[in-house]
Symmetry: C2
Subunit: 259 residues, 2 copies
């Protein structure tokens, strides 16, 4: 355990929601206002109305420096500065809450630094809302990033989710460093779903430049996606309903049957 | 297609978040304020500050009457009354967005009634925030309700998710009508996870009477849960970190190793 000052300050991990301030909760706003120091990836800090950050110290760095940024946030809280660590979407889904706890644990600070998480509207709910209702039945979230997870494990997990007929939510679908992962995922999906299975692709949900594509597995083009995109592949009962993607609630009641 | 009046009004499906108004987004509040009619399960309407509903018509009914409630909301919008259909949590995850689209589709109204979804903070993110960071890696959501899905399909899906090492988020874990489903889920998990695997159980997240239990698969008692609870079972690398549940971000970097 490290030497600590008399009064470490709270470290609060905050989910900002998808982007627009109208989807940032009052609790997240209050937690931001209560802090003296805000740490986050530059793109995420840019989602916050600038006047909310006036007078606060910022710890910012690029995407790959997340461990250093998180450690700096822990240092700030330990030194007595109330600190917010921000993520877009929810703070817990593939986000900073886990890394913050890992660092607190490694440094023996779990019982020293007051820690809490403010949940947010996650990217998967933002994308789903723009597509219609793709998540009305069981779903699985899979990240295609192999930075920290071996690719064979990602493939095995996605394959199991497809075979068990989960709606599949794909995070980190495609980047310059791994341009082929989403195409691989679509190829895997084609073994378990009909060509007519709906595929929704949402980029920059609730941010300037938002794009929504609703297509089918037969037509889906993986080149359209990037790191700012989220992709949803339906289950065996998902369908296009007019301009919307719809996964019915269950298997027992068939469409067209009235209650 | 039904005969329609000249100007159907918007039907907006709104996620209220887990309960406390501090986690209800400004967008959800604005959408509520813009409507003349609010439809929802009574328990969900009670989550809304009463003054926000002043002067609005309410369509409320019990949990099992959701189809009738949703149809009444469609009728209201079709008749020209701006209508909100509310769910707790997110509006799309096991919630009303799908049923609303099903009814609009059945009645040929998909292109007639303006439809949109306002996403919310889902129950899974609320529970995760209270537990620490259980969702930092791939996860699957499974509902144990067999009202609309055959039990053998639920079992097959949960088994696949456990075997593929997803963190498993259990919705509708237990009710009077199916008191044994969560015990069945724990028994299945014991085939794929160590006895020390963390299990988080959260009841009434961010509502009066909130309860959080963090335990292990060896100790987890299914009798504690009910329909107001959500249960999270870790993956093979999840662990208890002090008073928190932690799923590390990946497999490549082991705890204790610094960047």
């Amino acid at each position: 355990m490290e030497d600590t000052p008399a009064s470490p300050a709270p470290l609060t991990v905050i989910g900002l929601g998808p982007g627009d301030a109208s989807l940032l909760t009052p609790e997240a706003r209050a937690a931001l206002e209560a802090c003296a120091c805000v740490a986050g990836y530059g793109l995420y800090l840019d989602l916050i109305p600038p006047e909310w950050l006036a007078g606060k110290r910022r710890i910012s760095s690029g995407m790959r420096q997340e461990r250093e940024r998180c450690a700096a946030a822990v240092d700030a809280a330990l030194a007595g500065e109330p600190t917010a660590l921000v993520s877009s979407g929810d703070a817990g889904i593939y986000a900073m809450a886990g890394l913050a706890l890992e660092i607190l644990e490694e440094r023996g600070l779990l019982e020293i630094v007051p820690f809490s998480v403010v949940p947010g509207v996650p990217a998967l709910c933002a994308a789903a809302a723009l597509l219609g209702a793709p998540l009305t039945h069981d779903f699985a979230c899979v990240s295609l990033s192999d930075l920290l997870t071996p690719l064979d494990r990602i493939r095995a997990r996605l394959s199991a989710a497809l075979e068990a007929d989960f709606v599949c939510v794909i995070y980190n679908p495609r980047s310059h460093g791994r341009p082929d992962h989403l195409g691989m995922a679509f190829d895997m999906a084609r073994k378990h779903r009909a060509p007519s299975c709906p595929v929704g692709m949402v980029r920059k949900a609730y941010r300037p430049g938002q794009e929504v594509i609703l297509t089918t597995l037969a037509e889906a083009d993986p080149r359209w996606a990037d790191m700012l995109s989220l992709v949803i592949i339906g289950n065996s009962e998902s369908r296009l309903a007019g301009p919307y993607m719809l996964t019915p609630r269950g298997y027992a009641r068939k469409p067209g049957k009235t209650a």
